[in-house]
């Protein structure tokens, strides 16, 4: 029986096959962006001998008089209002240090944390001593960015019932530049899994809880009871699809309709549909 075989060949560069003219000004460090001194310099540029020079490899973005270069891959840069998923690395005197894939560890102040039962009171010394009872090293939390310090470190808060300690689920880490800012980052997929798209690239997939608990304040992370089989399996499948997509560089993640954008030339013979049920 005759079989057709092909030797491995180098993949054709995508930019040629897609045929799209990017129309973007791509620069590398050391490139002069402009010699016009009227522009303000933003991120990714620096001033050197009357010229504006790029300091990262990426595309130039111009907004009126501001020029900045957006790098392809960076660590997470916090902005007020972002939702992040992070891991506790340290328990300090009146705050927790949270690792969020950014340049410096983020800070979660004790006063920015909801007390169990939703009480509103000043944090006392007993609360300080009981900090480890709330969150320990290695716990995962979802939080919102409250403020950004001058050196770039981010201050988080969990002052809402939808934030707090995360229970059973799967964490998928992607590059922060792939997660776009949307109106809502908490989604329920039809297959029985729920997703939290952290702006810092940490994506939390967990089985959709049957009933939303009120008044838990995000502390009661249910690690004991096993989730319903169907929804746990769905969350595992979703995370596998996501990992596959990341491995094949399938572009940006955004929430409307749960679609993963795929450049036409790269679409393989099967497309994992996130609407798989059971």
């Amino acid at each position: 029986m005759a079989m057709e075989m092909r030797l491995p060949v180098a993949r054709k560069p995508l930019s040629e096959s897609v045929g799209r003219d990017t129309k973007k000004h791509l620069v590398v460090p050391g490139d002069t962006i402009t010699t016009d001194t009227g522009f303000m310099r933003g991120h990714g540029t620096y001033m050197g001998e009357e010229k504006l020079i790029a300091s990262v490899a990426g595309s130039v973005e111009r907004v009126n008089k501001l020029i900045c270069v957006k790098a392809l891959k960076t660590r997470y840069n916090g902005e007020v209002g972002d939702i992040v998923v992070g891991r506790i690395t340290e328990v300090q005197q009146k705050r927790w240090k949270v690792e969020t894939n950014s340049r410096l560890d983020s800070v979660l102040l004790l006063s920015s944390m909801n007390l169990p039962g939703g009480e509103l009171r000043r944090r006392s010394a007993e609360d300080e001593l009981a900090m480890r009872g709330f969150l320990q090293e290695g716990d995962l939390i979802s939080a919102e960015v409250q403020a950004v310090f001058s050196d770039g470190a981010v201050s988080l808060h969990t002052r809402s019932l939808k934030y707090g300690k995360l229970g059973q689920g799967v964490l998928v880490q992607v590059s922060p530049s792939l997660v776009k800012r949307q109106k809502t980052h908490f989604h329920d997929l039809p297959c029985g899994a729920s997703v939290i798209l952290g702006n810092n690239g940490f994506i939390w997939i967990y089985p959709t809880p049957e009933h939303k608990e009120e008044g838990a304040g995000g502390f009661a992370a249910d690690l004991e009871t096993e989730g319903v089989r169907v929804s746990t399996e769905a969350s595992l499948r979703t995370s596998s699809c996501l990992l596959l997509a990341m491995k094949w560089n399938w572009g940006a993640l955004w929430s409307p309709g749960r679609t993963l954008r795929v450049p036409a030339a790269e679409a393989p013979s099967f497309l994992p549909s996130l609407a798989v049920s059971g």
Binding site: S15, V18, L26, V28, G30, S55, A57, L72, R103, S177
Partner: protein, 245 residues
């Protein structure tokens, strides 16, 4: 050295190159998904891999944190199978520590560390096959890895080695030429401004010849820059197409 002609009468070297010619360079960026930045480079038969993590919070002793700039931490390691004789200790020996310090000096000159106070940038370089010019290959690989990680740099850092044989300066020495015992110079350059990040020589060379050897190394480093520039632009173009919009 009897029996081994490093430069023939017609001007050809042992591997058939001319005096100022570089070896073939192939490079790739983004080879590891789990690191912030990574790159692989082949310069002739010398193969080096570089991985960058950072900038991130300083782990371990907080006391090492610099309040106004980032800490650059470089580690050099050469695989046990990288040289002709199997090496006992891949890292931790004197040569590796010295290389690490040299790499650190080189990259502290190029990376804009003032932008990330109190953080740490880790650069790990591993040589998989050493055939001369290991410092140059490490610097070139690390430059690509730092670019891949999105760490702001003043400019590329391109490095090349140079030697001097029969009153001719040779660029990009291979292991055979290095082992012959002549003077060797390693130069790391920031091509756009022509500034030197590191210049190292550990042999005796008459100062009259220094100019020509330095010139040969600088020219070779600029040629390396042309090649690396092409690699980076291609990578950026591909990645921006994948990201869309």
């Amino acid at each position: 050295m009897a029996g081994l002609e490093l430069l023939s009468d017609q001007g050809y070297r042992v591997d058939g190159r001319r005096a100022g010619e570089l070896r073939r360079i192939q490079a790739r960026m983004g080879v590891f998904a789990q690191a912030d930045g990574s790159a692989y480079i082949e310069q002739g038969n010398t193969k080096a891999l570089a991985v960058v993590y950072g900038p991130h919070e300083i782990r371990g002793s907080r006391a090492r944190a610099l309040p106004d700039r980032a800490l650059v931490n470089c580690q050099y390691s050469s695989a046990t199978f990288s040289t002709g004789e199997r090496k006992r200790r891949p890292h931790g020996d004197r040569k590796s520590c010295e290389m690490g310090l040299q790499l650190r000096q080189t990259f502290e000159a190029a990376i804009l560390t003032q932008l990330h106070p109190r953080s740490q940038i880790d650069i790990y370089v591993q040589v998989l096959q050493a055939d001369g010019g290991t410092y140059a290959a490490c610097v070139n690989a690390a430059t690509l890895a730092v670019l891949d990680a999105g760490v702001p740099m003043r400019d590329f850092v391109c490095a090349c080695s140079a030697g001097f044989v029969d009153s001719t300066a040779l660029a990009d020495l291979s292991h055979v030429e290095e082992a012959a015992g002549g003077p060797q110079l390693a130069l790391a350059l920031l091509p756009a401004s022509g500034q030197i990040a590191l210049l190292e020589m550990d042999a005796r060379l008459h100062e009259d010849h220094l100019e020509s050897v330095l010139e040969a190394a600088a020219r070779a480093a600029r040629d390396v820059h042309t090649l690396l520039d092409r690699v980076v632009r291609q990578h950026v173009r591909e990645a921006s197409v994948l990201l869309g919009d």
